[in-house]
Symmetry: D2
Subunit: 424 residues, 4 copies
């Protein structure tokens, strides 16, 4: 299956804050190892940011929200970077137009790495000052900054994949894995009707949108043991799935027509078979690997065609509560769904984000953080869907039971897949 090597970053409490900071920052740069300087610069579509920008923006985040308020003597390396590398924090000042991110050749890649070093030094000095004082007001911001950078590690991979795919030369990012994925026969986990509790509680890190913990009432339902495979999705295509309006949301049908969609993003049909562009180049689809790079529209249409539906996020979390994240990520190229099969549920984390039919809105009692940090999640609660789990591009230590990822209905460049659900 399409999967990315992300250096595992343990968040074990035994590791010092500085060690964790260093590890996350190093992991980001490790992802860039296969890139040429030219690859860092461009943005192949509106959703995609240049690698260079990811490297700089994550540094700007520490500079703006951690160093500026908590290190009196801190002086920004270049005052114009605040303008260039602010993504969308209106309360943090004027910012560069997103559409032009891919047009900016300076600072150079070398200068951006220098910027990272400069920020790293200041953060590590601050870490030394904080020690293990978890009550220090900077601690929570630093923790947020690490998770923020991990989000950009995932984006960096999905974005460079799109950049490479846009290039008629079709460069490859890395070598292909050796193992062929296999899929178990589909099974279902049944859950009885009743009041359930979802959402984040307790002292561990979570984004503000994951809480508060609250009760929901669920009808009886069943959740599929594993994700929909490429072979299953190919059957949907072969059955005319992209030609039957009755299977689709009206908006989805319109976008599929306009965009001439006939398959997931990155699929192409040649030599009598479906092929898929991956970070390791183009290859025939792997029948048992989970389908990825489908929009909400496609996930929803597939579910309708299959006679099922997408789960709600409460259903997903209710089931996943019984399956800890730890140890569920598999090594790339060593995919063993059968290992999970004993416990029933497979592929909850580490294969593909799973579209839910839950719109991304606030949980009851949700309060956005004050100030610019409050823009992190709250202002996006509109016309997006929640996705649950974690993908092959998600850093391992970043996955969480209560994680609420969100994308609009037409997003296809992420490693997004399908888990089915059914009424009992």
């Amino acid at each position: 299956m399409t999967s990315a090597t992300v250096t595992p970053v343990e968040s074990a409490p035994s590791r010092s804050l500085a060690e964790r900071f260093f590890a996350v920052r190093a992991a980001t740069e490790g992802l860039c190892a296969p890139l040429e300087v030219e690859d860092y610069v461009v943005s192949s579509m509106a959703d995609v940011s240049p690698t260079k920008w990811h490297l700089a923006h994550t540094s700007w985040f520490f500079e703006t929200f951690l160093l500026a308020p908590h290190v009196d003597e801190y002086v920004a390396l270049n005052p114009r970077y605040a303008f260039l590398f602010n993504s969308y924090y209106v309360q943090a000042g004027e910012r560069h137009c997103r559409a032009q991110r891919g047009l900016v050749t300076r600072p150079t890649v070398r200068e951006v790495y220098d910027y990272r070093r400069y920020v790293d030094d200041a953060v590590l000095a601050l870490c030394a000052r904080i020690g293990d004082d978890v009550e220090h007001p900077a601690w929570a911001i630093l923790e947020l900054g690490l998770h923020h950078e991990q989000q950009h590690q995932e984006l960096l991979l999905t974005d460079i994949k799109h950049v490479f795919w846009t290039n008629p030369m079709r460069p490859t990012f890395r070598a292909a894995g050796a193992t062929v994925p296999t899929a178990a026969i589909q099974g279902w986990r049944h859950v009885a009707e009743g009041v359930r509790t979802i959402g984040h509680a307790g002292g561990d890190f979570a984004f503000d949108n994951e809480g508060p913990e609250h009760k929901v009432y669920l009808n009886a339902f069943a959740l599929a043991h594993r994700l929909v495979t490429n072979a299953e999705y190919a059957a949907f295509i072969a059955d005319g799935g992209y030609r039957q309006a009755a299977l689709w949301m009206s908006k989805g049908w319109g976008e599929a027509r306009e965009g001439a969609w006939t398959a997931p993003l990155y699929w192409e049909h040649h030599d009598g078979a479906w092929h898929e562009f991956t970070l390791a180049g183009t290859a025939p689809i792997s029948p048992d690997a989970p389908v990825t790079h489908v929009s909400y529209y496609e996930a929803d249409a597939f579910a309708r065609w299959a006679g099922y539906r997408l789960p709600t996020e409460a259903e997903w979390e209710t089931v996943a509560r019984d399956f800890p994240v730890e140890g569920r990520f598999v090594e790339r190229g060593a995919h063993h769904p059968s290992a999970d099969a004993k416990a029933g549920m497979q592929q909850l984390y580490g294969d593909a984000w799973q579209w839910t039919q839950s719109a991304y809105v606030a949980y009851p009692g949700y309060r956005a953080s004050p100030g610019a940090i409050g823009e992190y999640n709250g202002k996006w609660m509109c016309d997006q869907w929640v996705l649950r789990g974690a993908s092959c591009a998600t850093p391992r230590s970043h996955a969480r039971l209560t994680y609420r990822n969100f994308f609009p209905s037409d997003a296809r460049w992420q490693f997004t897949g399908i888990r089915l659900a059914a009424d009992a």
Copy 2:
């Protein structure tokens, strides 16, 4: 306040089906009395359909879903009308491009009225055959057709309002009312935490999206007694509500900037005061009337500014369950919110549709009807919000406790208003 006279159409069971059909069809045409032939033809923006089209499309609906399947000898008046007047039912065949609805001068208005007569005659003949056999398979379709036509009565009014507003001559649709609205001091109805039941059940008519009835878990909350007034909304404007990004959803802030929004649609500032274009022409805003023609973005931003939030649809319905619809509609120009005040809740129906923070998705166990009729509600469950209640343009007999109206975040041409909610 801005309100529309819609001839009340009683759905009392004592009335025969034919009488009800006749009354609804007559009510539609009654709304057109003030129009010149030219007014029937144009579409002033993508959301607006020509009056002529509303008159014809509602007839096409009966022709296609009632007469064609249930009257063997029925012959369509003009076979090309099926192409021109199909709105979006993909399964009902090819259809005219929505963007071109306002470019079609023939059939003329006279010919469209002839078309209505032709369909009326056939439907009334069918009614005679059905009698009071509510089990007849045509009965439910006819009932649906009546509610469908009532929906278009409301659209006809909101659409012609937009057409008149687009015209620099600013024609008026009718005379202004004589009574000045008054608003009670705001109060709050508190509801305790627990499992509640919402959604439609029982034999009365409801759209498929209103069911099934199901349980939800609600945290304790409070719902405002009345709608937000023009004066309250003007205070939001005066306080810089349209200039503070922190109050807005990100998409909303973008659209407000791009559209240069500074007030609700139809508001304009001149002679030192806010004025509002209404069906009776332009006049200073009525301070105590409920604000209308606000988008979800504006409703949500206002609520955040005011320190509250929008209700969920379950919260709204839980409260409204204690207040029957009947008798809550007021005569135009005779607005007496104080009458409601004794019971606590006011303006649940008949003033403005009320934005909720519930995305429009399927209820647990929802099943769309089979065939083209199933496109009525199901395929729109994407990137829209539920609105509850009923507006001044809603036909009285069309309002319902479980009614789920839905519009996208930026819709402003409907009579949409704001009811606040709060966590307990």
Copy 3:
């Protein structure tokens, strides 16, 4: 062939100014006889104005440029009409957005006709005052206003043709003619190299852009006796003319691809043959009739395919100088090109405007009129081509040897055709 009946309006000096005014105004309204009220209202694309607008705008022209400056006591019928019916005269004040012309339902058609009567009365009173004083400063403006209205007579026909074609009901404007056009064998008129004189001189009316008269140097050339026929154009299509980039201007190739052009506007292929939508409905193309509704791109590509080129306007005028306009218009349905054949040149006027390869720029010594009237021609001298002759929709008394019509490269909704030229 596609041709329009335009009541001939003689400009003989013997007729009084009032008589000529009356005749032109009546001719405009005569063209509207076949229309329903609804037909007057819409604009089917950016280039098309509603019939109602043509009727009102031509009246506004007299009101603004003739009555306001020359009739002291003149009071505008409705001051808002100045905003609604100003086309593009920036110096004449603010004006309505062109894109919204088709959205304005009031004033009604009846009110627009009342406006015409109101302006007519004032103009006729002024005529009485002027008598036959050709030196009166109002005389030249009135003359300009008549030619302006004649231009709109032509536009009214081409615009309503497009409106009817846009309508899936495909209404007809009038009955088809009885006579079948015939075309002579193509011949060529040769002209020797040398200095020639072109452009308007003398006291007769002409637009400012037709002068000054000036000398040009022409290489030896030949001009085709008659226009390219539908049959000849169909051969170009059959030979892959729309599929060979090498025949086309780069911009034209782009627009043809984007617009999916495969034939002239209004042509459609069904039942094994090319058909053409005309004011009399859809019919098989008439092989010997001149091809019309081709863009500059198509005319230029056809000429290249045929091994020829388009003429310059100086070449066209040099030849046409030997063939007076009078008597060259033929009755609709009675097309006798053979009559002209004796003199060599045919179809100079009255069949189709003829694209030239002359860009529309100022003649040497050109001066635009002062004030708003100067916007009539001068500000359009950019990215347009000159067309010569006159079409079947041109009022007979409006055609002139030195007339410089102009349209951009992609315009196809006019009766535009092709006359070939060649180097000697």
Copy 4:
């Protein structure tokens, strides 16, 4: 003034073809000396190509039109380059979408230089075979390729200027010059009415669009001795030139409004004065330097405001015929218009391209070359204006009396300026 150092490349017949080839290729690469790898990659707007693309495309040109047909054993370095680096030659095969040129990170800059070396070697080997046989069929293509590459040298500079300007960091390309330009008092050269000859004749190289030589008839006219200066243009701005519709072409007024133009491209007003972004960074405008980076619309409006007009290309060439190109280019930073003043005409070449009011159409008798090379000039003869002279970015040996540069009305990123003309 804004000027670029372009290594002079003598085309003296004494130099061997190989020497000339080597010199032109080296000059292109010399221009890139100040660039970082990142700078080569992006396209800051539709008109701008990445530096990397210019380097590759010019090599592709030699490969496709010279090596492929004339070197039997030639094997393309990478077959996919033919797709990536074909600009617009439809007859040379499928090609990459222009809009995506700036999204392609591979081949890398290093690989593109390797490609140049590969092509260089093959061309130099061919040169050795050709020797000084000017009749060899490859000779003319090689000559064309050299002029083609010189055109791209100019584009490379104007494009990188735009890339740098788009970057909020505002990088500089080179150091500023030391000399301050001075401008002579404006004077006029008068030319009498009569038949003149223009266009290219003889054996020297010229593009096909510069011929054939032919006669034109010119009215008496006067041509300004020097270009319009920044100070003169600033007076136009100060007098409201950008706010008076009456000065502008209608399309120009629309584009200026939509683009919010208030000055030439690259001008910005701060600290109480007009500044200009140049390849040496931002500096106050040099009052006596010629205004550059104006569109046709602005040049035409300025001329109208000044009471003059733009010249025709025939007028320009008639005057320039008396002033040889040689020796008229000045060293950058050593601008001495007074030197020219003795002869009357100044700045014909080497300061700015000069907009004419001649539309870019074929000369009488023009024939495009056969095959794909024929697409070089001919298919662009539509909606563009001829510019004459040469700019500060034009390679010295590339300027010619009969050179017909062409750009559309709104192009501003070239070094385009204004020379006035008047009727006698």
